[in-house]
Amino acid sequence: MSPPMSPPMSTVRSPAIQAAERIASEWAPTIGRISLGLVLAWFGYHELVQPSLWTGYVPVLASSSAAAAVLVLIHGWVLLVLAVALVAGVTPRLAAAAAALLLLQIVITLTITGGLSDLTMRDVGVLGLALYLTGRNTHRLRI
């Protein structure tokens, strides 16, 4: 008579691990959404209050031009609205998709102007988070 089959070691999880997995599954998208929102809020706020410090990032235009300052203000305004939408959970997938587009533009611009660098790769990571959130429909802490 053969001994009873035991489950493989890889499928044996303690209740604590199971609880941690459930909490991570439920809350990680929300934490990621709020984190992305805080990033956008920080940049959006500073672009709005001190546009002259950011005009150097505007491609083509001279950093001292008024047009560059206007573009930075518009960019900052969009970032701020997207940030609040993400933090509050208002149409988070749409907001994440818009953030992904903005970040894609930033990554492309930085790559063209300075090549692949630590700054560019950091933004690639944030872009990945935005893309991930675009595909997630379950979020906690939404108004």
Partner: protein, 187 residues
Amino acid sequence: MRWRGAALLALTGIAGLVLAIHGWSARSAAKVPGTIAGATRPAGASHAPATAPAAHGSASRPIGPTASPSATPSAGQPASRPSAAPSVGPALASQSYAQYAFQVWPGTPNAAGKAALIGLSVSVRRTANGISVTASVVGQQVTPHVYTCGTKVWVIEASLGDDSGNTDYNLGDDGLIVTNAAGRILQ
């Protein structure tokens, strides 16, 4: 509650507009002094380019990528002369951007100073009239400026996070300041 989200975004949009108006009105005041990205140079610094206008103190200091080619000296022919009457401005320590100032001369810059210098080329040498300072984006040649009574050279870098490797992605927040022995900005 869809309307609550819409109302929140509308309020955010209005707040953003208010901040944008504030930022627009204060954009000139917030500009980094002696910016290296093609704004204005310190008023008293002398400049002896091939073209005449930059001889005046309030002339622009085209060093960065937006520089006007007409003000750039020809390669290998830098020239400088001291200003006739350099004026002394306020103490650097009293300025709002003092927290972003990193001393790069004399002596060896510390780690933060080296980080602030990323993407920039700053060289200083003593002259009979004071110190001759050449500051530019890496790879560009510019005319040195002579600061009479200058004793310290500072690089202003509002955000070190825009520097990577040997590239400064945003020169809009970089500037150069020269102070005298009392710590006052030479203009």
